[in-house]
Symmetry: C2
Subunit: 433 residues, 2 copies
């Protein structure tokens, strides 16, 4: 799902702040059984509304069908911990304001469910709130895309995926759709031109049709839409910008990642089904030495939601970020080729990105489903709605993994208090190693 | 769910035998996406019909909501393996017939998805078919009950559960139901007298209402039944045998285990929700050194299906059986007090059991949700519909863990070819150590 929208509106006053919306205080799903008005279910779609989300994002698989991403049977890789108490006081200026905010204050202000900070591979900060615990998997939303994009870049690197080919070369079913004239690279960098609105604040936006097709939202009794992701994707039409041409500008649309996921499934087949979750397990999860299985939502055809269905523990998310920071070498093995990560970090066309109008992300670009800041530290991010993030700062040797359940989907609502905080923390660590 | 029904009817000729119904051959859920007629979904309830079950029982969490049972973050306990090739030829006489069948032949004849045999703690036989793999969790059905019964017996042993108390002492909500006049012990040994038919061959049997309330089967559009297990249980009425008295005879009814699960949740609360899955993880799963998480189906109120929702890998199921065989000591620790297991193995009233009319199980009894054979080897079992089983043979130092997807639910259909095979294997191992 979307990670940021080109809106400059500031968030409204929220009914409940971070501490007040703590799901343990509100009593969601507590009791034997929980009282009717404290139950969170898929059937009415309310699990996707704040403040129920503060419980639901840490319990998705108890609400909808999911598939395991195995970590294998070995012990977890060591994640050394030396907590520091100087981070909470580190402060930054809120974007678009002259207000100062400390790292500690930002935790509740951003409805954080958990945050882990690694410095030189050591956990220096780890904090949880609400429904999230170290053992529990949280919804990563579009952070999923950076996993899938990395897998895609690995396939380009090993030659099994040609980024110059048109999509129908791999997925003939998409010939009649907008993807029929797009290249693999355009899909990977989201420079496709699609008639597909990704605005969670608009109930008529196509992202909601897509979510219903994928089974995340309940299908109404009179539902006449598509039954699954791969029934939906062939219906996506060309957008009307740039005379219907692809490759002219960055436009963030979740369906691109689902198309990339489809391609990855198909090219990996070798005569049998190799699902995306199996690939994520084989190439990444089982090699990182994760503590927990990951899981991913599936639609009624068993198709994983490549655009935003991944759930991981926070500590495992941090492991993935640390593997990226270390050039792909982690847990005593090369997991992602270093050249793949170097390529991602170089980013893509900044003018393409600028055309999307993200005022809070000046000079950024988007490459293989990663957000590249091009800042003075060469930081890059994986981003998901409601505040999911991996922030890798190579210069500061810092990785931040963060899960949250902000009341509003678009990251534009928490970028002002999170992006400067990440950078301030990085500078603090450089100055106070 | 039921493990055996008192029917003596022999199975009909099946449309497809074990090899023909292999889900890989039938192509269920294969392809990107699978063709419409190869999809298995919850919405039409067909995932519960043979031969789709041969895929579905190994993929339940991709179809319905489930909850994790954590194994913790340590490495798996060692499960030494020295495979023997002499077991397949071991043969037995089929119950109620003079036909001979070998262990190897019984595998397909019983629609086995996987079987592991431990002898003195060493895997001497391990075989999988169809959709099941060593890493994958399979539906244990009523084998779940033996886990919950063991937890219950542990609580009786430590004094936190009084088996002589009436059920409303712990669950006041059940005061007006048949359970209002039953003791905890009667529930644990299933000598309650309930108006509740557990016959999967009868579409009007109460077991199906129970399954719909629990969300395993889709609720029809015009559904007017109970929304969850704990809404359903208070409606269970007294049966009309024994002048409405409990404690007069063994009657196998899944709802008893759901009541025990409810009690376990409530007495463990200590001011907060401690769900059954958390208890199973804390007291059993995390201590066995399991290879995989287990998982359990949940209803719309987040209540785990204590009567039959557990899913485990086959190797982990074998670990649990081996822990029982070793008097509760496994993975370098006492997991279940030895006295608890001794108590279970003593069994219960054989006359109570005989009154239920299981012609294929003469002289057996049922204690704390375990099936006690009282045979010459003092073997005992956990049993689930469609052929799920743990068979512990103390004298032969043998444990069999078995998962299957037999076309018919009731174990009466595979007892004739499995029970004598288990005993023959035990005798073979004693004669050929």
């Amino acid at each position: 799902m979307t990670s940021s929208t080109p809106s400059s509106s500031l968030p409204p006053a929220y009914a409940l702040n971070g501490a007040q919306s703590d799901p343990n205080i509100l009593g969601w799903m507590q009791g034997h059984p929980p009282p009717m008005d404290k139950r969170i279910q898929q059937s009415d779609g309310s699990f996707f509304t704040f403040p129920k989300t503060r419980w639901a994002f840490s319990h998705t698989r108890e609400i909808v069908p999911t598939s395991n991403i195995s970590k294998g049977i070995g012990a977890a890789s060591t994640l050394p911990t030396t907590l520091r108490d100087d981070l909470d006081a580190a402060s930054c200026t809120v974007l678009g304001s002259d207000k100062r905010m400390t790292w500690g204050e930002a935790f509740d202000a951003n409805y954080t469910d958990g945050v882990v900070v690694l410095h030189k591979g050591i956990i220096i900060y780890e904090r949880y709130a609400g429904a999230l615990t170290p053992e529990r998997q949280h919804w990563a939303f579009s952070v999923t895309k950076s996993f899938v994009g990395t897998l895609g870049a690995m396939r380009v690197f090993d030659g099994s995926l040609d980024p110059t080919k048109l999509i129908p070369h791999y997925i003939p079913e998409l010939k009649g759709s907008a993807f029929g004239s797009a290249t693999v690279r355009q899909v990977m960098d989201m420079t496709t031109n699609l008639q597909y609105l990704e605005n969670y604040a608009d109930p008529k936006a196509e992202i909601w049709e897509h979510s219903r097709a994928g089974g995340l939202l309940p299908k109404p009794i009179d539902y006449t839409g598509e039954p699954s992701f791969y029934d939906y994707l062939p219906r996506v039409k060309l957008g009307n910008e740039y005379a219907g041409q692809h490759g002219q500008g960055f436009r963030y649309k979740t369906v691109n990642t689902d198309v990339l996921g489809w391609i990855l499934r198909r090219i990996a087949s070798e005569g049998r089904s190799e699902r995306l979750g199996e690939q994520l397990s084989k190439h990444i999860w089982s090699r990182l030495g994760c503590e927990q299985e990951a899981y991913i939502t599936v639609d009624s055809a068993g198709t994983e939601f490549a655009g935003g269905g991944l759930h991981t523990s926070l500590r495992d998310l941090a492991r993935f970020g640390e593997m990226m920071r270390q050039g792909g070498f982690y847990n005593n093995q090369q997991i992602v080729p270093e050249a793949v990560i170097t390529g991602i970090c170089q980013g893509a066309d900044k003018e393409h990105f600028a055309s999307a109008g993200y005022n809070l992300l000046p000079g950024w670009s988007y490459q293989s489903m990663w957000w590249i800041t091009h800042n003075e530290h060469d930081a890059y991010m994986a981003r998901g709605i409601h505040g999911q993030a991996i922030y890798v700062d190579p210069k500061a040797e810092m990785v931040i993994a963060r899960y949250g359940s902000h009341p509003l989907a678009a990251n534009v609502h928490l970028d002002p208090t999170s992006l400067p905080a990440y950078h301030a923390l990085a500078k603090h660590l450089i100055e106070n190693p």
